[in-house]
Amino acid sequence: MNLQYYKEHILPISQKLFRFAFRIVGDQAEAQDITQEILIKVWNKRNDWDYIDNMEAWCIKMTRNLSIDKLRSKHRRTQDVDEIFHLKDSGASPLESVQSNDTIAHIRKLMQQLPQVQAQVMHLRDIEEMSYKEIMAQLDLTMPQVKTNLFRARTKIKHLLNKEGNGLRQHSNIAR
């Protein structure tokens, strides 16, 4: 029965879809709406399920496309691309920045500095703990593309963390 299959095979991936949408749009309420929209779309396409080889990959692709569309329309509404894609200088010192309790939000902001594909590959690997093959299927990339994007993403994050770490040390030395 369709509903039974839906409950057993599709609903369990809703959390993954939600986190993936959240990674792209950066807003929990919007990510929830996107997830719901995708899951309803999947249900409405139930007559085509037999023709879909990898249901999870198909759902992830739809989530990615819809999230990017929402993000684009948000850009058009706000005209503030920097706010979404780049870390705005808050004026806080490296010490204040690193010592803030909101380290999670801070890393999220660093992640927003990455190109979309790099951030998506890093998310699927580090958060969803997918193998390279799974990431290839989800994002329609080749193995070298997956590895290159992951390498570049992690290197960039490392560079940003090191930069902040050095700033922090310098700040501590001056304070002494």
Partner: protein
């Protein structure tokens, strides 16, 4: 757990060469409180990963979604009537009654109409008039036959142009 190899694993991680098991080891290491200063700068990254894995949809999400789907799935009154097992039998009975009624109405009308026609008014009065009517009828039939023949000839020409008949 052996954490001596953490710097090596960390290098592999940033090069994108670590396995999922090695990455799990790094996550476990950075979940500890006591970490050396040179490695502590990477802690937020692994804390972020652990926190992101905890991001969940609200508990009521699934129930709300299923209720939306069930609402969409439940058919309206008309559709429900159509899907009823007796609907086919009812349709057959309805059609039969309809056809019987139509037949009754039509035959009654034809009989009634034909009774009111004064057929004597259409009878030819003289042999010349009968001949003229017959001639007109024959000319009309001849025209229609000619039309049909020329239409067929045109179609044959078209088909020949398509190369289907040599």
């Amino acid at each position: 757990m052996d954490y001596d190899n953490i710097p090596i694993l960390l290098d592999k991680y940033f090069e994108g060469a670590s396995s999922l098991a090695e990455e799990a080891q790094l996550k476990a290491f950075f979940a500890q409180d006591d970490i050396s200063e040179d490695l502590a700068i990477y802690r937020p990254l692994f804390q972020w990963q652990a926190k992101e894995q905890e991001v969940q949809l609200p508990a009521a999400f699934e129930a709300n979604l299923l209720s939306t789907i069930e609402q969409q799935q439940s058919p309206g009154i008309f559709k429900r009537l159509l899907l009823h097992p007796m609907s086919r039998a009812a349709a057959v009975v309805f059609l039969a009654v309809g056809m019987w009624w139509a037949y009754q109405t039509d035959s009654t009308t034809v009989v009634a109409d034909s009774n009111t026609i004064n057929w004597a008014a259409y009878e030819p009065k003289t042999p010349e008039e009968a001949l003229s009517i017959t001639r007109e009828a024959m000319i009309m039939i001849s025209k229609e036959l000619n039309k049909g023949t020329s239409r067929v000839a045109k179609e044959v020409v078209k088909v020949r142009q398509l190369g289907r008949i040599d």
